[in-house]
Symmetry: D2
Subunit: 422 residues, 4 copies
């Protein structure tokens, strides 16, 4: 397998990446393996993770604290863009991967590695997301994806491999029903009984959010402040991105907000069922969707809303560091230049309703919209409708032969005349 000497491994501390260290050394002529961890908000005993990496044979261990930047530079732009994959999935895993892979590439380049390795399986989306980032940031480095190469075909095989090499797996056991991903934005659950798409997830599966049924029986009001499409404050208090996420997650989780159960379309074509908990994210999206309707005019808003699907597709595909995403980002930034203001939400037993919004740049003018007297000229509407509907009327005249009430054919000329005359 060539002259690979130093490998940068995206290390999680889990079963797969632990045995990968050993497997790499066995298969790449005892190459050096650097274990690279990223703290993206998951709960973890980081000292134990480091110990596990070194025990498993890593020559070096890195831990990147990506939390603040993940929120401010990845998640918030995505919220601004309104990106929700297939209208349902809030892209919790997708948004973290490019940043995690970028951190790995940065270390790899600094350390002079000649290969990048990840522990994603050959069926999922994450392999694509990691490797597209590798291609974008270090296309000259080799890529090793053990799950697509080795003979280990299941969790059980992996544990057998570990045991045969005396790798200490700590509390990892053969029984791990769900495949999970966790960061400051979300937690996902796949596998187990979820594989039958008709099965309802068990309450015990959820980790972040309280069941709506056990949430408090009282409403909580939350006010989120935005500047230029970015969240900047909560209930009147300015805060940085990571703190914002923590606070919002706390409020939403406590009130059972943010669960979805979907069957999405993976990049590699197949459908896949997943349960997602995105508590704070649900509040952010709800608020931002409202504020954009309040502050962006129709052409720009409708353009933005359609393009948010393209943006979501790019994020889902791991195409963060690509021309298309950069270009959509510029567009979104410009469109939300005046999306500054506050949205008031009411959170209650699984629900998050918008109940008010205000902005110095509100395009909603009470005077224009109200039913009472105003200086809006209602007569303008007649001209507007006549021209706005002109093509509809002309098309109708041209496409069909109309009759008047008496069964008499209406002549084109006569139609045209009354048409203009109105």
């Amino acid at each position: 397998m060539g002259a690979i000497k130093k490998i940068a491994l995206a290390y999680s501390g889990g079963l797969d990446t632990s045995i990968i260290i050993q497997w790499l050394k066995e298969n790449y002529d005892n190459a050096e393996v650097i274990a690279i961890c990223t703290n993206v908000g998951q709960d973890e005993d980081w000292d134990a993770v480091e110990q596990k990496a070194l025990n498993a044979g890593a020559s070096k261990y890195y831990l990147g604290d990506l939390r603040e930047e993940l929120a401010s530079d990845y998640i918030f732009p995505m919220v601004r863009a309104g990106a929700v994959y297939e209208g349902q999935y809030m892209l919790g895993t997708s948004i973290a991967r490019p940043f995690q892979a970028k951190y790995q590439v940065d270390i790899a380049l600094a350390e002079g590695c000649d290969a990048l390795c990840h522990g994603c399986t050959g069926k999922g989306n994450d392999q694509v997301r990691f490797e597209l980032t590798y291609k974008a940031l270090a296309p000259h480095l080799k890529v090793i994806a053990p799950w697509r190469i080795w003979d280990i075909k299941s969790r059980e095989d992996a544990i057998d491999f570990a045991e045969s090499r005396n790798i200490n797996l700590g509390e990892i056991s053969k029984k791990n029903i769900y495949s999970r991903d966790w960061n400051i934005w979300h937690m996902s659950h796949e596998g187990g009984i979820l594989e039958d798409a008709w099965n309802r997830p068990e309450e015990s599966m959820f980790r972040l959010t309280k069941s709506p049924k056990e949430a408090p029986d009282k409403e909580t009001e939350v006010i989120i402040d935005f500047e230029k499409g970015f969240p900047v404050g909560l209930n009147g208090q300015k805060m940085n991105a990571f703190d914002m996420m923590k606070q919002l997650n706390k409020i939403a989780s406590e009130n059972g907000v943010g669960r979805v159960d979907i069957v999405e379309t993976r990049l590699v074509g197949m459908k896949s069922r997943g349960i997602y908990e995105t508590p704070g994210g649900t509040l952010l999206h709800t608020a931002m969707r409202d504020l954009e309707m309040f502050t962006i005019n129709n052409d720009a808003l409708h353009l933005k809303q359609k393009m948010s699907y393209d943006y979501a597709d790019l994020v889902y595909a791991g195409k963060w560091y690509t021309t298309a995403r950069y270009a959509l980002e510029e567009m979104m930034k410009k469109i939300t230049e005046y999306t500054t203001g506050s949205v008031k939400l009411c959170v209650y037993k699984g629900n998050a309703w918008v109940i008010g919004r205000k902005s110095p740049y509100a395009l909603y003018l009470e005077d224009l919209a109200s039913f009472g007297p105003s200086d809006y000229n209602q007569k303008d509407a007649e001209g507007f409708i006549n021209l706005y509907g002109l093509s509809t009327g002309v098309t109708a005249m041209v496409h069909k032969d109309l009759e008047d009430g008496s069964g008499q054919a209406v002549e084109m000329k006569q139609m045209a005349a009354s048409f203009h005359d109105k």
Copy 2:
């Protein structure tokens, strides 16, 4: 104002259209006015409405029962298409107007009328929707829109007019805080304290849905069956469209489901705040969105989801009877040809979650998606990613001068080589 002799009036029984009858007679040389009512599912004492119309001077009265067709031929296609205006408004008023206007035109043609009249104000969307339908179906008839012509500028003026002509307004009074629209799909509320967009709607304003806080503290499961993208059964029982809507409305309303508070962009450009109750509709949309993800492949699904915005824009604009809507309908129909199956919802205190789905045409194959062994060939993924990411890698190589770990420039040729070699 010409030789108008017989006018078909879209009559609601409310204040505006009642005084319009008299106003038309006064201003169009005692022309005959035919009052045309439509039952679209609102609660109404229809005998009283008829009496009111005749009292006000109508020569004839028609009442069309549009309920079943409104559900089956207008609402269901719209749900199939996934049309939600600006991602938030379920188009409750918009979807009824073209059908109501079509019924009016049908009568007008049968009766040999020479003009069509409606009671919409000059600031709103409904005038556009009515008149675009007129243009599409009877472009040779004249259109009269009194609110854009007369001197009556407010509700108070209208009542004064009625009193000066001794028109009996029944229970209509000067105090009518909210402007409302009601049919089998929804009820809308505008005006009053809502005009300040920061104000939360009062609980007393809602008419269809119970407050989530007062909804039962237990979950209700609902199973909706679809055939080719259309709802056909509820909890295992086949039913027609109107009954389906009634049942779904009952369940959802009882459980506080279906309220939204939004500031939308009107056709005539201004922003407008509205509160909508769409109880059963919320269940239908939720279920249909899920089933389409389960049964439609990625290209077609993503195409459909983006086009649903165009479909929604057309419905909102009253462009139901136009080439563009007809064409999108054909597209939506084809895409949902196999969207047959059942979706299981859990309804609870304002929430409606999908908790399971099944279909004879599920594109979700447990075997393909699962984490255990299968005959999916993981090695395919390597080739896929290499080509799927080829342009990302080539772009990266071309756009930047990369360095390897040692600060050495990476030659293009070397990059290209390792790129292919991977």
Copy 3:
């Protein structure tokens, strides 16, 4: 390589597919190979092709005459849709592949074959187009793509293989500068000096079209008649699809019309330079684009024009037999329901200009558009502009602080007032 017994081979009579027959027999345990040819309009000595196939070891030979159907069922819908890949490539190869593959699959199923084989290389688009059709029509059959498997890496290797097996290659020689594809719609040229994208193609490379410089120095008028978006007649004479293509090709080729030189993006990500001759097709597209502007109203036309890119992408990708293409077809069919009429072209030394058009369903009404007096009410325009531009004005007022001439700040209220007042 398993128990493959009978292979359906897409046979062209060229070098590659000739040696494939022998290679298949050697590598699949002397499996039976059925050679399947398709006449899509290329010039060929079909008897010689048959002889070559049987000489090379095929057990059976089929020749499908696909010309009329290729034109009527594939090319004409594509022209109706306005599909041109990346705005430049008229999809000449792409449109034929699905039909050729379908013919092959039909024979394979009728003959009880257990595998499908094609001779496309592993770098191009055609492998994708063939195999996507296989997957769509016979996903249970195995696929053999020798170029991705064998050790033959070049034209020279292939000839060596043939010589070592005594396969008679007729006039095929090692020197074949360009890679070409030819059917009734187009001829493509790749390779040779074209690989340097700065090189101009040599005149001697072209095969279908006369050089514009050698074309007659006089104009030729051509009138093409369409019904519902499909070409049906030429210069007043009804004709079937294949005859239409023949006639149009003759006129256009004679006059040097239809050459393009482009660098397109292949499905597998890389850019590729090609020269295309699409003589008759250029006339058809030019005429159809004009007639659609004449007969389709703005909403539908603009929808169609944007969707034509999606349609083109699907054709380019070989996704002819997919839900998305079927759905777009329904849309295009509906939109062009009244695209009936005639377009007059002037053809001259490489040019094809539209110089007139007429239709019973023209949406162009002289009276409406002319500059002289008419019954169009110019005053409508004021109302139209006021509302059409309302959001632009409101946005301007909200986004900036304006000054009047004297350097005085203009108050929002004052702006709003004059705004409405206009």
Copy 4:
């Protein structure tokens, strides 16, 4: 008509705007009228124009030389964006109006005017473009559009008005067959015999371009250099935007390049027939379209191409100074960040062909695309196709019951097995 005291008039020197000065004074209580002219590249005796304005009663005259900026800040971004309305009209009039109106507004604000006036008719697009710019830049100023107000209904009426007031019209006569617009980008022709859409334009109508039949019978090569999507040099010589346009117009006009004959959809709904000469612009668009295919990767290129329709719609509508256009501009700018290089065109008797292109950022790599040996791994293609086509195959299996050759039903399980197995 209120207290309007000082009016800024967009003055052309033509018949309409000459009588407007007098008409304004008569109808607005002898208000002061400032005549504002713009040089956008049309041929004009500017001294005579000034004299005419002052003779007609203008209190002041301004002449703005907008040529360089029109090219660099309006036309070039539009070319970069690839904006061509309805795929045919190169937006020659549309692109100039916002800048002309902006110049008018700037003077109006500096002079302390209280109203803006233009001489566009009530049927066309230009009134919309002028007034949308007014709304965007000075929403507090009043707008006067005499053609929508006065009783003058034709050219003849206008001349009568002028004669009755002794306004010296110079060489303007009643006979002016075509309505024309001219600037450095194009000249348009409407009216006269063109109103019958079947009539071919007379050769004598054209003003900018030589007839292809009278163009030289020899090819001319032109090389255009671009930087970041903007034209910067011609045949190796750097030049500013206006000089570039002049040079390109000269070459193209001399060779009969740039005529189109179309029926477009006006903003106010009706269809309208126009003939356009856009000589240099045709060269620029042709070259830029080619270079973008050469330097932009597939995702970004396809995104750009679809969005160019939206950009064109905004320009056509006069929505230059709107959020949506600003946002698309940012997108286009980002996408073309590396669209730097040269395109070689051959111009000959009406034709403009690309015959070569080069770029330091070419994404076309000879090595990757060529047919000879390279280090591209053809085996990747198999994996790519299997996953790229996975959903097509799964959909086929799920949607239909297939038969094998013998008429036996193929079991789903069997299909799936061979599917994966391939």
